[in-house]
Amino acid sequence: MKIASTLLIRLYCIGTLWGLCFVAAPQPSPAANPPDAAPVILIQNATILTVSHGTIEHGSVLIKDGKIAEVGTSVKAPKDAQIFDAAGQYVIPGIIDCHSHIAVDGSVNEGSISVSSIVNIADVLNPDDIDIYRDLAGGVTTANILHGSANSIGGQTIVIKLRWGQPASKLPFEGALPGIKFALGENPKRSNFSIPGAQQRYPATRMGVEETIRAAFTEARDYQKAWADYDKRLAAGDKNAVAPRRDLRLDPLVEVLQGKRYVHAHCYREDEILMLLRVAKEFGFKVRTLQHVLEGYKVADEIAAAGTGASTFSDWWAYKVEAYDAIPYNAALMTHRGVIVSINSDDAEEATHLNQEAAKSMKFGGLTHDEALKLVTLNPAIQLGIDKRVCTIDVGKDADLVIYNHDPLSAYAVVQKTMIDGRVYFDRQRDIAGRADLEKEKKTLMDKEKKAEKKPEEKKPGERKPEDKPKPPQQDTASRGAQ
């Protein structure tokens, strides 16, 4: 099934494989839990790629209270500072993945209905998902956790920081606006997902996708007006005013109309991109980001004029018809036409090397080193409305930083440390040093289990045999991140 799973990654990047997603079992944290108080840290002798104001050779970054306190070439170490000597190493702002499905407990798709705005990814965050740690090890510090793309209007979404080892309540990115997933094209019209015996769901065409969105927003607008009328009557002292019936499906859409919730719209083809921009204009809301947007390069001027961001893949193509015109020049072409562009992962594995994926835009379309780096730092932060907090190395910003052993826009660069809020959440040396202990612990547990197996009479009720231990097959990792 291994090849099949590779295929699934591509095919379902994307749609949904109902029931293919498993719950990740809680795992001991490979990194020690960070202490409560953020330490004072001085990173020195590093090549600092600030993203906002160029490259500083032999530079230092001072971190205090989780924030960047000083940046430059002559930063003095406070007495109590931990020193990270980063000679020969590179520091960049933490990578921001604008399209992720990690840290989700179970399926990311409520695929039964065409408007599933009622559900919220924030309700099912799983802080024990090992992919959080793996993506941290790839330099990702912030991720936009999206609902799947089975619905024209999908579920509510949330931006998180990858604070591995912290409870779910500590994952959300404080102050980041929540979002909602939209999806256009093959996935919401269920082109590639016919289930034997299942009833076909509306919409089944791109025409129907538009009408599904228009119908939902027509309702939302009426609903919004009903509440406004009610509030007005209440304010006027009308004691007979009756509140409209609360509609959990329409509430998030009203927030979209009010600009309190971002729309992240999965899309591929040029026509459907323009369709959504027209509908948004009609109802007076903004599409915050177009996700995947593999034909964005064809209508880059229109996207730029709408002030909409584009978050795309580096070089995925041909996994379905609407991805057949995908080109690796997409990010560069849109950038050159004035679109704010980010490169995203949509996949737990792809997220571990977004720095490399960004680098490809230098080769395909000629972005500069700085422009390429922005694709995974500043630009996704702008798209998520968090650029005042993170994404550049400037005084006052959150100390979300990554240290690489080489230029991060190279296939030879390896993450050495990843920090969030001034705390080290991933440390390669510490990870390697801890492996022997983890192996030992695993062996002890396995031996214990085997022993218990040999003496069935001592077995406690409900104890499981090793072969019954739930173990997700390969498809798990393949599909979970790939919706």
Binding site: T6, D315, K320
Partner: protein, 447 residues
């Protein structure tokens, strides 16, 4: 910004003209080339500084620092550039699958469990858009494996999937593309599967271990029976003419396998499955190449001692187990190389084939010596599939499959400037470049 880009484009185009492209005028293109003043990485010895490489009639005629340029040769000054053997992707469905979600465009896997007689080369579509796209990444030849991509709707890829073919990534017909029609027989090793996905009900199915083991044993027994029949058949083939026995094309296709002349390309990933497969092939006296090998590191000594080479699935993959080190597949190549296991990197794909260099470079980042990485995308796959006499290194007499680059061919930003396949200066144009240029020139929208 924009003007710089246009200048670059123009200069690239001009450069291309100066180098004298190609396909459209193939009939008139020269048959003798001299690439001069290049740094030549032969991979058969030390790099040659300021060297000349002469291509004649599709072959490498000569290379070195004192090579004379033959009269009539098309001379290309490659000063500041580097020459490498073209990259070799040893596991693809190139030409067998165009758009993986559209069944009508996919010919990767037959239905049924035993299809030793189907041959990948038969269904390779020479006009596939994947071929020029892959070529632009410096890949000049690939192995196309039948029975490895896609799956039928019972979720099965069968047991014996068919014959893998080695092809050049250029040619008007498959005949022109062929390096070798059959380089291996694909076998998907039966796994002990306690959990599977049932496409009939579109749901997950759990199976008790004992039951899964029973299924596994049944499949292995069937395989043994099948190979026994092939062995008997092969014996019969050696005695008397075709009139003496009823011809069976499936068993006939397996004859070179049971005789130990043709390698089995065995797909297995988990250590238990790899061990079972090795033990089985050993007992059956079958030549084995391992494909996949996610947990090959756990059986590295066995692989080395049996001399079994591995086609590794992409290093850029998540670890199979939740509690594996995060860099399990990235660091595995270094570990295998250290243990003396021969391996090559494979894309196991079409649209991701162009990440072959990236896969190799990432293994270097996690400890694999650079030279080994380079060989694992050139000469090692050629050796593993028995075509090293033709491709894989730059040596006089070999087929002239080579690339001229502005740097390390494994690095993300390196550009392939020229690409030769069978001595032809082959176009780097492709669907993506065409779409790029078309929309680069779209007039600004009125809005």
């Amino acid at each position: 910004m924009k003007s710089t880009r246009i200048v670059r484009l123009v200069s690239v185009a001009a450069g291309a003209c100066a180098f004298g492209f190609t396909i459209l005028t193939q009939a008139q293109t020269p048959t003798t080339y001299a690439l001069t003043h290049a740094k030549i990485f032969t991979l058969a010895g030390a790099p040659i500084e300021d060297g000349t490489l002469v291509i004649r009639d599709g072959k490498i005629a000569a290379l070195g620092t004192t090579v004379e340029v033959p009269s009539g040769a098309k001379v290309i000054d490659a000063k500041g550039l580097q020459i490498y053997p073209g990259l070799f992707d040893p596991l693809t469905q190139m030409g067998l699958s165009e758009i993986s979600a559209v069944n009508a465009t996919v010919d990767s896997s037959e239905t049924g469990a035993y299809n030793p007689d189907v041959v990948a080369a038969t269904a390779v579509f020479p006009s596939s858009e994947h071929i020029p796209v892959t070529r632009a990444a410096g890949i000049t030849e690939v192995v196309v494996a039948a029975g490895t991509g896609g799956f039928d709707f019972s979720g099965s890829r069968g047991v014996i999937g068919g014959q893998a073919s080695a092809i050049h990534l250029a040619g008007w017909t498959i005949n022109e593309m062929l390096i070798k029609k059959t380089v291996a027989m694909v076998l998907t090793w039966p796994e002990i599967q306690t959990r599977s996905f049932d496409f009939a009900t579109f749901s997950r199915k759990d199976k008790p271990f004992a039951e899964a083991k029973q299924d596994y044993d049944k499949q292995v027994n069937e395989l043994t029976d099948y190979l026994d029949r092939a062995r008997h058949y092969a014996q019969a083939m050696g005695h008397g003419g075709p009139s003496d026995f009823q011809r069976d094309v499936k068993l006939e296709a397996l004859a070179p396998v049971v005789r130990g002349q043709l390698s089995l390309l065995v797909f297995a990933d988990r250590a238990r499955d790899i061990r079972n497969a090795i033990e089985y092939c050993d007992k059956q006296k079958l030549k084995m190449i391992l494909a996949g090998g996610e947990e090959a590191y756990k059986v590295k000594d066995l692989l080395r001692s049996k001399g079994i080479p591995v086609i590794l699935r992409p290093t850029l993959s998540l670890p199979p187990e939740e509690d594996d080190p995060y860099d399990r597949l990235l660091s595995q190549p270094a570990e295998l190389a250290k243990a003396g296991v021969k391996f090559a990197f494979g894309s196991f794909d079409n649209s991701f084939a162009r990440r072959l260099g990236q896969q190799a470079a990432n293994a270097v980042a996690y400890g694999l010596p650079y030279d080994e990485a380079l060989k694992a995308v050139t000469i090692y796959p050629a050796e593993i599939f028995g075509v090293a006499d033709q491709v894989g290194t730059l040596e006089a007499g070999k087929v002239a499959n080579l690339i001229v680059t502005n740097g390390d061919p494994l690095e993300l930003t390196t550009e392939v400037k020229l690409l030769f396949i069978k001595g032809q200066n082959t176009s780097l144009d492709n669907r993506h470049l065409r779409l790029y240029e078309k929309y680069l020139n779209r007039p600004k929208a009125a809005n």
